[in-house]
């Protein structure tokens, strides 16, 4: 016959019911013995007041033992019954009752696989977040670079606009056109120079051949 350890009850009460009953049993038994000893000593004392009587201490002891044995037998039987009732009706937690502190086990009965899946999901979210965070940093870095580049380009534009304004102020007309005309002319000159060079080269070659 297996002994029910009543561990869940112990979790609730703070003691094992069987231990509690044992403590009570020992206490009661001690009282019974104590009381009997007191009874015996009182009777013996009373007998001292009767010097002529024939009742010996031994007889009294025998009487005490008889009564005690009788009481002990009834005591054990009755206590056993009481213990059974208390363990079944009072100091027990029915099978369908869950202690409030264990509520999570009812709410979240996760198997090993489900638990692992949850952990994996969290791990993945962490990685995704890290990726987003570094992407964000990269974007912001580019934004900063853009600002610098934009500033430079705007400076150049302003410089160009500044030139136009100067020319307009000094009435040189359309300086751009003049510049364009000049550059075209210088280009033409360059082309002409090239032509001349080629032609003179050819002439020299001709001379050598001749």
């Amino acid at each position: 016959m297996s002994v029910n350890p009543m561990a869940y009850e112990a979790q609730f009460f703070g003691f094992t019911p069987q231990t509690c009953m044992l403590r009570i049993y020992i206490a009661f038994q001690d009282y019974l013995f104590e009381m009997m000893l007191v009874v015996e000593s009182v009777i013996l004392k009373k007998l001292d007041g009767f010097p002529g009587c024939k009742i010996s201490t031994f007889q009294i002891r025998k009487s005490t033992e008889k009564f005690l044995l009788f009481m002990k037998q009834h005591f054990d039987k009755l206590f056993s019954k009481m213990e059974e009732m208390l363990l079944q009706l009072v100091l027990n937690i029915p099978k369908n009752v869950l202690l409030p502190e264990d509520k999570v086990h009812e709410q979240y009965p996760y198997s090993k696989a489900q638990f692992q899946a949850l952990q994996d999901e969290i791990h993945q979210l962490q990685q995704q977040y890290r990726a987003e965070a570094s992407a964000g940093q990269a974007l912001r870095a580019e934004l900063e670079e853009q600002k610098a580049v934009q500033a430079e380009l705007e400076k150049i534009l302003q410089w160009f606009d500044g030139l136009e304004n100067i020319c307009r102020e000094h009435g040189t007309g359309n300086l751009e056109e003049s510049f364009a005309f000049l550059t075209q002319n210088s280009k033409k000159l360059q082309d002409v120079l090239k032509d001349v060079e080629e032609k003179s080269k050819k002439l020299k070659q001709h001379d050598q051949l001749l």
Binding site: F28, E34, M35, K46, V90, I93, L118, Q146, A180
Partner: protein
């Protein structure tokens, strides 16, 4: 029995009441077994000599025994805070009365049992991560828009400069 109009009269007695009743019954039956007849019978010679004293000793013995038993029970109840625990257990039993399935019990393996205890924290952590991830994605979306706009602007500026350059050639 006097029927009181109390706030909640329990149909079945609570654990505290059962406890008291069982102890009282035990005591009653014990005292009944250890009757005066039996006592006097055992101490027959003394009884013959001093019947009133025998009676008085017996009465005191029984009274003392009952007091000791009741005191011990009270001490156990006080130490273990049993009154409170009995009432609270009664309440739990009442609340679970419609549940036929056996409830969870510790498996004895801490690693198994701790899983469920950790789940609420993990769920909270997961929802936190989901939230900040969403916020970050939204934030990045906005910054990406700015970056694209910036690139366009730079392209524009470059075009304008090219136009100016050509005009000056």
């Amino acid at each position: 029995a006097g029927g009181e109009d109390g706030p909640s009269v329990q149909a079945t007695p609570g654990r505290a009441e059962v406890f008291a009743t069982v102890v009282d019954t035990f005591l009653e039956k014990l005292v009944a077994a250890g009757s005066y007849q039996k006592f006097a019978n055992c101490y027959r010679c003394f009884y013959k000599l001093q019947p009133e004293v025998t009676r008085s000793i017996y009465d005191q013995f029984i009274s003392q025994l009952q007091t000791s038993v009741k005191d011990e029970i009270q001490e156990v109840k006080n130490e273990g805070n049993l009154e409170l625990l009995f009432n609270s257990l009664d309440k739990m039993v009442e609340e679970a009365k419609n549940q036929e399935e056996p409830a969870w019990r510790p498996s004895g393996i801490p690693e198994e049992d701790i899983r469920s205890a950790m789940v609420p924290y993990l769920l909270k952590h997961r929802s936190y991560l989901r939230k900040i991830l969403k916020e970050k994605e939204e934030e990045n979306r906005k910054v990406a828009e700015s970056v694209l706009a910036g690139r366009n602007r730079i392209g524009e500026l470059q075009q304008l400069i090219q136009a100016r350059k050509h005009a000056w050639q």
